[in-house]
Amino acid sequence: MDEGALTSEQQRYYAASQRQLIWWRLRKHRLAMASFWFLVILYSLIPFVEFLSPYALRSRHPDYVYFPPQRVYFFHQGEFTGPFVYGHTMTINLESLQREYQEDRSRRYRVRFLVRGEPYWMWGAFRSDLHLFGVEEGGSLFLLGTDRLGRDMLSRIIHGARISLTVGLFGITVSFVLALVLGGLSGYHGGMLDIVIQRLIEVIRSFPELPLWMALSAALPPRLDPLLVYVGITVILGAIEWTGLARSVRGKLLAVREEDFVTGAVLAGGSPAYVIRKHLLPAFTSHLIVSATLSIPRMILGETALSFLGLGLRPPITSWGVLLSEAQNINAVALYPWLLFPVVMVVSTILAFNFFGDGLRDAADPYA
């Protein structure tokens, strides 16, 4: 082959921007891509939780307390009829004092899509009662069972996703800003400021994370509005998590600062803000994004742990951690294992973030 000439494939490669290169490499990483789409789908569902969940967050069903996950049938007497559920009768076992539910095959209720159900406010703007799926009047549809007040677990998990997933995003915003400002100052200016900030980081890091989170969230006034508690918790999560990120910002800044193109920019009269924004930041944005991706799951976990302990979010704001706090004692877990379903969601979300972050790290590394 002629030496100087490039194939169109090669031309495209050499002309590609940094972002495109990362995207191409990331696309080859199957697990990371699968995780990426999983997360995209999960997050894009957040605005529509009321529509997606068959029941409202707080609607109670006194006749269906601790109702086990319900089966959906497709065949009636050997004939395909579309999805339907049977009715149930409840008896109390006088020996164990447990509720027992028996299927009542004489009553059948169709499961329908796009049904009218419980009314709700969509985005606080307009009223609607349309649900993605639901059951005919008189029947019940608890695909993941119900809790001690007869509230549908599936609906509560879907609603909880809104809180649990956004906690990580808001938390990372807080910690990102803190890390950029403090880490940037520390790395760019050096000197006394650097020493003070580094000491601060070291002190924060010498606390075990969870007890510190617990103490800070317990310090929130007990009669605070639940929405403000949510804000407070995200700020607390972010305010502790920033240290690691700030350290890497500082390290990278120190390394890049010595490069010739930076000295050139400074000599040409660039102001510090200009040099940082235009020449230093682009050099490690990808690294920052990777770190952020990997610390979101830690915040989601932190919130889950705090709420699980009863120190985090409180009802009516419901996250997966709040749901799990119902499963705190061994009796509840042993008798009503479906209360553990939120665990599946927490773990799969965190796995997805970790796989995606890992793939992104490989893709963003120019030497890989």
């Binding site: 010498s206 606390f207 007890p211 103490a215 889950t304 742990a305």
Partner: protein
């Protein structure tokens, strides 16, 4: 070496001082003094306010004096081993906490030992059998271990052991051993119960340790001296143990600094789930009742534990690696 030890010890003093300042700020965070909350809570719950108790607290913490006096009282109290007063037990906390703190240390140390023992063979195997099926499988397990929060693992384990074995895995002692004085039998009983929390707390640390050891060893195995040694006919096992492994081993010690806060965090929440008699449940109770002085003392204690642990690991690393002694700690 002595210079390094002294240097590290001196460095610990300002750190602990700052840690205590941060803790004191946290204590002061809730609006109103703790006494106001206590009085209003006691009134709300219909109890007649115990004036003696209030007076005792006021004197104990110097609540009517300026902040810096309060801080001094609290810190100097801590130095004398005074951790506050528990009304629940009607005794000074330091009298109750001894055993709880000892168990926290036992569990943390056991979790770190577990991490080493499990991570070493798996990490070495993964690195020497790179991209084999076993490596992929172990890598996946490690990721799962990283992603599963420890308290959820504790919950699931509790559920599984209840379903399969029909027994509860909570606690650290059998009921009949609970109040027995310390003896050989009690230690054995403790060991029988210890594996559950140790497994749960150690899981995520083990996972990250495996990843790190594998990466380090892979880097080391690529180096020319390994190729040379292999070319000269050194038996593979001997080669592995003699050189690359010793270098890849460093993070086992240096990582305690990262591992320890994690392990102590884990032990707090796992203890609450499995109701273990460590400091975790006591901390939670103090926080729930917003007894911030008590909670602050616990927080301070846990942080001190972490700082001392990191110090020990740094000293061990310095003993192990001459390069670090030379630097006088400057590169950390």
């Amino acid at each position: 070496m002595l210079r390094y030890v002294v240097y590290r010890l001196l460095l610990m003093v300002p750190t602990l001082l700052l840690v205590s300042l941060v803790t004191f700020v946290i204590i002061q965070l809730p609006p109103g003094s703790y006494l106001d909350t206590l009085v209003s809570e006691l009134r709300a719950s219909g109890e007649t306010t115990d004036l003696q108790k209030i007076e005792f607290l006021r004197k104990q913490y110097g609540l009517d004096q300026p902040l810096w006096v309060q801080y001094w009282r609290w810190v100097s109290g801590l130095l004398r081993g005074d951790l506050g007063y528990s009304f629940e037990y009607d005794r000074p906390v330091s009298a109750i906490i001894g055993e709880h703190l000892a168990l926290t240390v036992v569990i943390s140390v056991a979790a770190i030992l577990f991490t080493w023992i499990v991570a070493l063979p798996i990490g070495v195997y993964s690195a020497t059998h790179k991209y084999s099926w076993a490596d992929h499988g172990l890598t996946f397990l490690a990721f799962l271990g990283l992603a599963t929060p420890d308290f959820l693992l504790a919950l699931v384990l509790m559920f599984v052991s209840f379903i399969w074995f029909g027994l509860s895995v909570g606690g650290l002692f059998s009921p009949e051993m609970q109040t027995a004085p310390w003896s050989w039998a009690k230690v054995l009983d403790l060991l029988r119960h210890l594996w559950v929390p140790v497994l749960v707390i150690g899981a995520s640390g083990t996972a990250s340790m495996i990843r790190r050891l594998r990466a380090n060893l892979l880097d080391e195995l690529k180096k020319p001296y390994v190729v040379t040694a292999r070319a000269k006919g050194l038996p593979p096992i001997r080669l592995l143990f003699k050189y690359p492994l010793r270098i890849a081993f460093n993070p086992f010690i240096s990582d305690i600094g990262n591992l320890l806060p994690h392990v102590i965090s884990g032990s707090v929440i796992v203890s609450i789930v499995l109701s273990l008699p460590t400091t975790g449940p006591m901390l939670l109770r103090a926080l729930r009742t917003q007894d911030m002085y008590l909670a602050g003392s616990f927080l301070m204690l846990l942080a001190t534990l972490t700082v001392v642990g990191v110090l020990v690991s740094d000293l061990a690393l310095a003993a192990l690696d001459p390069r670090i002694r030379q630097g006088g700690g400057r590169n950390r």
